[in-house]
Symmetry: C2
Subunit: 256 residues, 2 copies
């Protein structure tokens, strides 16, 4: 129990938060107990699930600096079976504060190791950088799920991410592996999308999930209602893709 996945990619706007929220919801919909850790100071995973980003309760910052435990920080969401460690913009200051602390890359791992028994999956939403917050997520995680937008710049940055994952594996976390790469915002009318998808499959082989997330306006509308797209419009192409992705993630876990 308590399988920890980091949802990471330093390229901005590739669908990390959207994948975290909707994959978590789809896993909860099939009976898995899921926890999201919002490790991005933008707090998009927090507000995308309808929670205020300025809460008076404990949050991810408190967890990292050791002011509260995982159990004290976890909150319920509107999705049955899905809890969250919310965040606020205060987390932005943590990146600089962490630089001077002992075991600065292990803060998250030390806070959650052995504490995740209540959940089947823990999904960590990462900010668009390879700084100390993402390093903490990669050190705490057992595997990484990489959202890859079907655009040129997104593909270009992937080798830097893979090198960083290797570096974390060698220095901080031997068990870290890439569980898979999910293609996002795929537009079948657009030759660039298809070219990037083909490149990604050549580069990553069967690490690329069969499920491809299409560009689908309902997906980008859902956060303005504080809901995952599965609750906003279950039958749209975006929701159905995340349901299929959840099935693939569970099957891959069984095999590993």
């Amino acid at each position: 129990r308590g399988r920890i996945l980091a949802i990471a990619n330093q390229k901005g706007g590739v669908g990390k938060t959207t994948t975290t929220i909707n994959l978590a919801t789809a896993l909860a919909a099939v009976g898995q107990a899921v926890l999201i850790v919002d490790l991005d100071p933008q707090a998009n995973a927090t507000t995308g699930l309808g929670l205020p980003p300025k809460g008076d309760r404990y949050n991810a910052y408190d967890l990292l600096v050791g002011a509260a435990t995982l159990a004290e920080t976890a909150q319920k969401t509107i999705v049955p079976g899905l809890d969250i460690i919310p965040t606020t913009v205060d987390l932005a200051g943590a990146e600089i504060e962490l630089v001077g602390l002992e075991r600065r890359e292990y803060r998250l791992r030390d806070a959650i190791e052995g504490q995740c028994g209540a959940w089947d999956f823990v999904l960590i939403d990462c900010p668009p950088s390879l700084g100390l917050l993402t390093l903490n997520a990669l050190t705490a995680a057992e595997a990484v799920l990489v959202p890859l937008q079907c655009e040129y710049y997104a593909l270009e940055g992937i080798s830097h991410l893979i090198r960083t994952i290797e570096r974390v594996k060698n220095n901080f976390n031997q068990k870290l592996e890439v569980q898979g790469v999910v293609l996002t915002m795929f537009d079948k009318r657009n030759t660039l999308s298809t070219a990037v998808a083909d490149d990604a499959r050549r580069f990553f082989g069967n690490k690329v999930y069969e499920t491809v997330i299409p560009r689908n306006v309902r997906v980008s509308e859902a956060p303005s209602f504080g809901k995952p797209v599965l609750l906003y419009d279950l039958h749209c192409a975006g929701s159905q893709a995340y349901v299929h992705l959840a099935g693939e993630v569970i099957r891959r876990e069984r095999v590993l």
Copy 2:
């Protein structure tokens, strides 16, 4: 001469690099001498102009740590009248290194102040965060141009960016102001785009440029050829929008 603009927004994937490259090219096309400073370790502005991100020449990292001057670091690009301070992934390490340095927020300003006489405009492409690299850009700049993607999460994060600009103005750089907000990836068929655009105009008033950059696949294809979209396909909607934006930016400079 040497008007310094930071192209900034901590939200990822909103069009910072695309705006930096194509606005710079459009300004150069009307006879302005322009310099881009690539302050994002992803080095997308560098590769989007066809330069390798692993150069053996001086780069933005050298500039920040004082190993080279602006004149030594500037390189020509394929666009006449447009030079660049290229970057490599080494810059990713600078963020942590800068934390312990004297005048850590002023490193870029100290390196370029009084050195920009050869150019009419200096555009600084920022990474998707509000860490020390973006703080350096905001401290060195005279004004900020904010690309705002017409999506919900992008609008939500804007108040955090404005607060940070105010903080920099009060602590490091009195003259800093927002020159304008440019709406990007606007899709007139999508009600969310229109809703976000209306919200942005209510929030920012006439700070929002009249020019709106449409979502246009030619814009996202151009980087894979190492070219600005103005060189890849001058007559497409994306290129024309950036040409209009350049006109507006110049007019606003005359008024200020």
